[in-house]
């Protein structure tokens, strides 16, 4: 009898401990979100870029001995009826030099739309050395119907950039921030894409070319 009671108490204590472990692991799942961000910032995974203030940028020493080509690209995600592109495709810079380039955006719809640009830099090991001073991606951008906007990015490439990196690509993806509006302009969601059981296949090749 004594043994049975002991077992029951042991069980209770053990179950409590194990339940705490389970709950802690549930929490750990969520803790992976900030942990991942920190990890990405340190390693530059996924091209998350850095940010510095103007003073720090101005203070960084220019390394004239090296030239790095920075390429620009940009696209809108489905659901944002904007034209969006860099006004300049590439620029040669010295590490430490503060540079401004511009992107072009035009709202092609007849409604005001709020967009958010998300930057990404490749190669990954360059991302942590790519610091933006000013960027249209720091805040949401609202474009009136038909409005055209030239948006500046001010950046500096940290002189600590690994020697092997000679080309850096900065890419922006522009997203429609209003989910209802995004759906209206073609983003697939919920049932929209799934109900379409038929495959979308062209009967004849159609030339789709553009500038």
């Amino acid at each position: 009898m004594a043994r049975k009671k002991d077992i029951r108490q042991n069980n209770k204590r053990l179950v409590q401990k194990l339940a705490v472990v389970a709950l802690a692991m549930f929490g750990f799942g969520f803790a992976m979100v900030p942990l991942y961000d920190v990890f990405c910032e340190i390693t530059g995974i996924n091209g998350k870029t850095g940010r510095v203030d103007a003073q720090a940028a101005a203070a960084s020493k220019v390394d004239k001995s090296r030239t790095v080509t920075v390429e620009f690209t940009g696209h809108t995600s489905s659901g944002l009826p904007w034209e969006f592109k860099p006004l300049r495709k590439k620029i040669d810079v010295h590490p430490g030099q503060t540079v401004v380039v511009k992107y072009y955006a035009r709202n092609m719809s007849d409604e005001a739309i709020i967009g958010q640009a998300v930057p990404s830099v490749t190669p990954g090991q360059a991302a942590e050395h790519f610091n933006k001073v000013e960027c249209f991606c720091f805040s949401q951008q609202k474009l009136a119907p038909g409005e055209v906007k030239e948006m500046p990015v001010q950046f500096v490439v940290n002189p600590g950039l690994p020697r092997g990196v000679r080309t850096i690509t900065l890419s922006y993806a522009f997203f429609n921030m209003d989910k209802a509006s995004a759906k209206k302009y073609g983003a697939k969601g919920d049932r929209a894409s799934n109900r379409n059981h038929r495959h979308q296949v062209k009967a004849d090749p159609v030339v789709a070319s553009g500038g």
Binding site: N46, E71, H75, S77, M108, R195, V201, A208, S209
Partner: protein, 377 residues
């Protein structure tokens, strides 16, 4: 329920399957098939194939040695042969040896793998950049240095997929606009996606990379031999994941330059043709072609398919032209009608709308000009 009956049933099932398999063998004896990777055409694909072959050989040798012991034992150490069981149940030396030897073999495999991997990840010193964007369910290619960009979509006719006509040689591996790349040049790909994750893969190049919305990845290749190379999207991206192939034409530098200038001229011509006034006949002819994309849902004769509205006598196709254009350009919220504005040129949209309003049993007489489309964008 007697055993004999079961035996009878299992016998019948076995015969059935035997029949099916014999039939399938005889029917397809002609089909060519491969037992290994497709022929590599880039230095990296070549290295990967060598690495793969090396590892397969190592793995097969280990496998044969290990299991020859097992099968020897199975044959010899049987009770039915009167074999008396031994009593041993551990042996430290043996256990240490078979921990260390596999470890050393693994180190041997890791060295060449690391070397190849380092080469694969080195995208520096590229001579051409191509940006690849995955869409549901097509690819878009941009050549930022040449101002060329286009969508590349499956060109296999629906009738082949639905088994109404015989399947072509490159069934599901053919597109309307292939990617054209120069041979012998280091090409860097920037890769991203517009909606969900896709993956760009051409087996003969030995490159595969995920296209992730909001993020940009890069990879490179250098094609040795001119030719046409085919691949497919490799990451599940929804309903038509199996229908977004990749076709690459590798050509000489001269031919590549010619192709680039042709693309540019086409773009200029497209702009010029959008500016001019089109005749109804020309619009109808072109519209019929473009309508192929619409037929998937709206039916080849505008009769509608399942939940998708018919266009014959439809409210949109016989109502105001501006509303019709808007739906084509912007799509319809909450339905599968997507925005074709970003995908089709002004001329194509004008043509398809004109077609829909004057064919498929409709006869509004409206002629829509590319300039009207442009004004609505």
């Amino acid at each position: 329920m007697g055993i004999t009956r079961i035996k009878h049933v299992t016998g019948a099932i076995t015969r059935l399957f035997l029949g099916i398999s014999l039939w399938s063998v005889s029917g397809l004896a002609l089909a060519a098939y491969e037992l290994n990777f497709q022929k590599p055409v880039t230095p990296i694909a070549e290295e990967i194939l060598d690495l793969h072959n090396l590892i397969i050989i190592i793995v097969l040798i280990i496998f044969v040695i290990v299991f020859s012991f097992m099968f020897y034992s199975i044959v010899v150490h049987r009770k039915s042969r009167g074999y008396k069981p031994a009593k041993f149940h551990d042996n430290n030396t043996l256990e240490i040896v078979w921990t260390i030897i596999p470890f050393l073999i693994l180190v041997g495999m890791a060295i060449p793998s690391t070397a190849t991997l380092i080469k694969m990840e080195d995208t520096s010193e590229s001579e051409l950049t191509v940006k690849i964007t995955g869409y549901q369910w097509k690819w878009r290619y941009d050549y930022p240095d040449h101002d060329v960009s286009f969508f590349s979509t499956l060109s296999t006719p629906r009738d082949q997929i639905e088994n109404k006509t015989a399947k072509g040689e490159n069934y599901l591996l053919e597109v309307d606009n292939p990617v054209v790349l120069p041979v012998g040049k280091k090409v860097r790909f920037l890769i991203t996606a517009n909606d969900v994750i896709h993956a760009w893969w051409v087996p003969q190049f030995g490159v595969k990379k995920d296209a992730i919305p909001g993020f940009i990845n890069e990879m490179w290749t250098r094609i040795d031999e001119p030719g046409t190379y085919r691949g497919q999207c490799a990451e599940l991206c929804g309903k038509d994941h199996g229908y977004m192939p990749i076709v690459v034409e590798a050509v000489s530098q001269q031919e590549f330059d010619k192709w680039v200038s042709l693309q540019r001229n086409k773009a200029v011509a497209a702009q010029a043709s959008a500016a001019q006034k089109w005749s109804k006949a020309k619009l109808m002819a072109r519209g019929k072609q473009v309508y192929g994309q619409c037929a998937a849902c709206h039916g080849a004769n505008g009769e509608g398919v399942g939940p998708f509205p018919k266009l014959t006598g439809g409210k949109i196709t016989t109502g105001p032209v501006a509303d019709h254009l808007k739906i084509v350009i912007q799509g319809k919220p909450g339905t599968a009608m997507q925005a074709f504005g970003p995908q089709l040129s002004d001329v194509d949209i004008a043509a398809v709308v004109t077609y829909e309003r004057n064919a498929l049993g409709n006869n509004t007489g409206d002629v829509v000009q590319p300039s009207q489309v442009k004004a609505l964008r």
